[in-house]
Symmetry: C2
Subunit: 460 residues, 2 copies
């Protein structure tokens, strides 16, 4: 690396936090002007080189031989600066840089859409290629990065094997209409692969094959839904985390989910302090407290059956649900889930053992023949955030279920996993983008993704 590239704002801040940043240090940095004001005798530039969330304040005054030149540098431009570090213990910012010189590397045209003012998220979505430069999105994508790394760290430290399950698949797992099809030159659906090809909705089935070889595995990659849902929480493309563990029952699964979620949240709080303070101040007041509560809670485990009873009682006692028709066998609505976690448990809670009719075919049938060994994790201010289950390891039961729902073609290999040294195993799925919404407090999935893909929208 050239000498110049070696120094970044990140390194200066880390040096400062280590107590090792010297006053009067000469520095050369390259970055962008985030704001520039000048009263004719002294000027201030908010500078950011992309390596750190916080800006560095650059100061210059009339004494500076380059005063006139520096004054002309425009908001948005890329610049190279020389200057001297001044520790400023009496100020808001811990240090600033007294400019010696400034050179404009890349000008910023007058029609720059990202003006120095408050833009709506809707507007910023429309300039997705520029919004990473806006404060909020600078913070969002840094947290996204830290969160993704925390996920890998967590699993790697525990010996899990990362599996890249395929994106293109012949297995239309969720039924027609919900999947995208992949074609070559719009000819015939089977033109390229000799088989109808679609984009994956889940890597779970493939991950199970790997869990039965490597014991503990996880996928972390893109998944797709062709649902025509234009809500704040639906995207056509999003990343999923899907761990799968062998020799593990539902309790092992919940232990894993709990330690996983606590680890990832703690990593973000520890490693994105400035960003999380930003979210706490400007996006979602109380978000840090909410996350700390999750870290410090012991997650409760409650039967679906019990939850339905408690919800009925609450309704009888006068709580007004928008969907008051609560009975055993119903799929709980978000308001019900939130009532359980926010009002009854007042903390994270796993609902377990759901009616088999409302859960997926691969979930383990309990001895009662009515429920399956599923677990949904509900958290306050969100509702369901993770869904998992023990998988049916019994060949005959799984085969019967697959025949019953007409899903027995093309999945013989999946069934065979139960025939060749199968064992009890479990796993869960977590939408990465929804996790980010929860952690940052951002309200729209489009605002935690770099370039969101949604029905009718494929800009960039």
């Amino acid at each position: 690396m050239s000498q110049k590239r070696d120094l970044t704002a990140r390194k200066l801040f880390f040096k400062y936090y280590d107590g090792a940043l010297e006053n009067n240090l000469n520095v050369t940095l390259e970055g962008w002007i985030k704001s520039h004001r000048n009263n004719g005798s002294v000027g201030f530039i908010e500078f950011n080189d992309g390596s750190y969330f916080k800006n560095i304040q650059l100061v210059y005054d009339k004494e500076n031989a380059n005063f006139a030149k520096i004054s002309k540098a425009k908001y948005g431009s890329s610049i190279e600066i020389n200057g001297v570090v001044r520790l400023t213990p009496e100020m808001k910012q811990p240090f600033e840089i007294q400019l010696t010189d400034l050179r404009v590397l890349g000008d910023c045209a007058e029609d720059y859409p990202l003006q120095k003012k408050r833009h709506t998220f809707e507007f910023l979505r429309d300039i997705a290629y520029l919004r990473p430069r806006a404060n909020t999105f600078n913070a969002v994508y840094r947290v996204r990065n830290a969160c993704a790394y925390a996920i890998h760290k967590f699993f790697q430290e525990r010996g899990f094997i990362y599996v890249h399950t395929p994106e293109i698949t012949s297995n239309d797992a969720e039924g027609a209409g919900q999947v995208f099809h992949v074609v070559n030159d719009f000819k015939h659906p089977n033109d390229f692969f000799n088989s109808s090809a679609c984009l994956t909705v889940s890597g779970q089935l493939h991950a199970e094959a790997f869990a039965l070889a490597f014991r503990d595995v996880y996928t972390f990659g893109p998944t797709f839904r062709a649902e025509n849902s234009n809500t704040n929480r639906h995207a056509s493309e999003f990343w999923m985390i899907e761990p799968e563990i062998a020799f593990a029952d539902l309790d092992d699964n919940m232990d894993l989910i709990e330690s996983f979620l606590k680890y990832v949240i703690k990593y973000v709080l520890d490693n994105c302090k400035d960003e999380m303070e930003f979210f706490n101040n400007f996006i979602d007041k109380g978000v840090i407290e909410k996350l700390n509560n999750v870290i410090n809670s012991e997650f409760v485990r409650m039967d679906y059956t019990k939850a339905v009873e408690l919800l009925k009682k609450a309704a009888e006692a006068g709580h007004k649900f928008e969907n008051p028709d609560i009975y055993w066998g119903t799929d709980l609505m978000s308001e019900h889930e939130r009532y359980i976690t926010e009002e009854i448990v007042k903390g994270p809670v796993f609902l377990i053992n759901y009616p088999k009719e409302i859960k997926a075919f691969y979930m383990k049938l309990n001895p009662d023949n009515k429920t399956v060994a599923a677990c949904d994790l509900l958290v306050p201010k969100e509702g369901e955030i993770v869904g998992g289950s023990q998988r049916e390891e019994d060949y005959d039961k799984l085969f019967a279920k697959m025949k019953e729902i007409g899903n027995d073609k093309g999945l013989e290999w999946y069934l065979n996993l139960r025939k060749y040294g199968g064992c009890i195993h479990s796993g869960f799925g977590l939408g990465f983008d929804r996790l980010l919404m929860y952690i940052t407090g951002m309200q729209n999935i489009r605002d935690v993704q770099p370039f969101p893909r949604c029905p009718g929208s494929l800009k960039y």
Copy 2:
């Protein structure tokens, strides 16, 4: 976690390597039988629980009250065992387990396709859902995992931001016929997104937008090619690593590539010792030495122009190339690239400054107006392994080039990055699966991917 799940073969081996594994330790483990032989008075089971590459030998004899029961346990079955650790300093394996008891958890049917014999890779490809249990693939996917993690570690330690660039895109970057199209219900190409949608061939353009906000970024995700190429080195779906760095020229880029490649290879050699020994012994003799040579070389930098001269000289001096027509302006063939790195340089070499006609539109035009600031890294026994370049940061030059090749529609945003605080920046692309082939010595890209997707093939 339940007590039982807490212990794994991995932990036992790590304990052993730390010198902390006690003789006579009582253990309970769950895993699979990799082989089982019994001479009537003593039995040996090769046991693997998926957490570690090496098997553990389980031993039992006639003295054991469970001898008859244990004897019946079949190859391929999943089992739970109790036993006592015996350190065996005089044997090949460092320790074995004297069985107390064994319980079969999941039987293995007689028609198990993965028999205890040498199968061809072609056959194993056909049972992709079982091959992770075969020795070679156990090693392959462990190295794949370690390599993926090393990539994240390298970039994270250097402050790079991980960006999930989109999989579905409107930008048909490589021209018709090479991309897959994404449709909903085979209706109209524009039916879902109001725009023709295809699967990405590269995240670079999107990564550039992020580099101009975050300075140093990388993508690591799936990319796609609809080429109808049925070779050992082509897959329809593969993972790519694409870093992008701002305020960085071609030399900075090559510094990054060199340190990146050395770091990742060293990480694999350090963390997959057993697996790499396996590859060195059974797949590609000398592969470890080849990799160590890369780590210990200083990568040479040579002009394309100079390389062409040297190749011409070699041909004149009598070296027989299959493609002897070597001239300035030609795209070098693999045999030429290998001759340069293996015979001329005898080590890794960057070829730089290629004729503009044979490189991509976004590469920076050099002052000679004839070449672009591209760098291809060539390594012995492979040829090109990384391709990178400085990007054209000049708006007018880039615009002219895009118009010239008819690629100016839909990419206005990409061009605008040069208008709003642009700066010199560079990046590179590396096919993850090809890197794995290079590291493991595996000869077919289908044998380093979990579930390969190739023309005509979409099983599983």
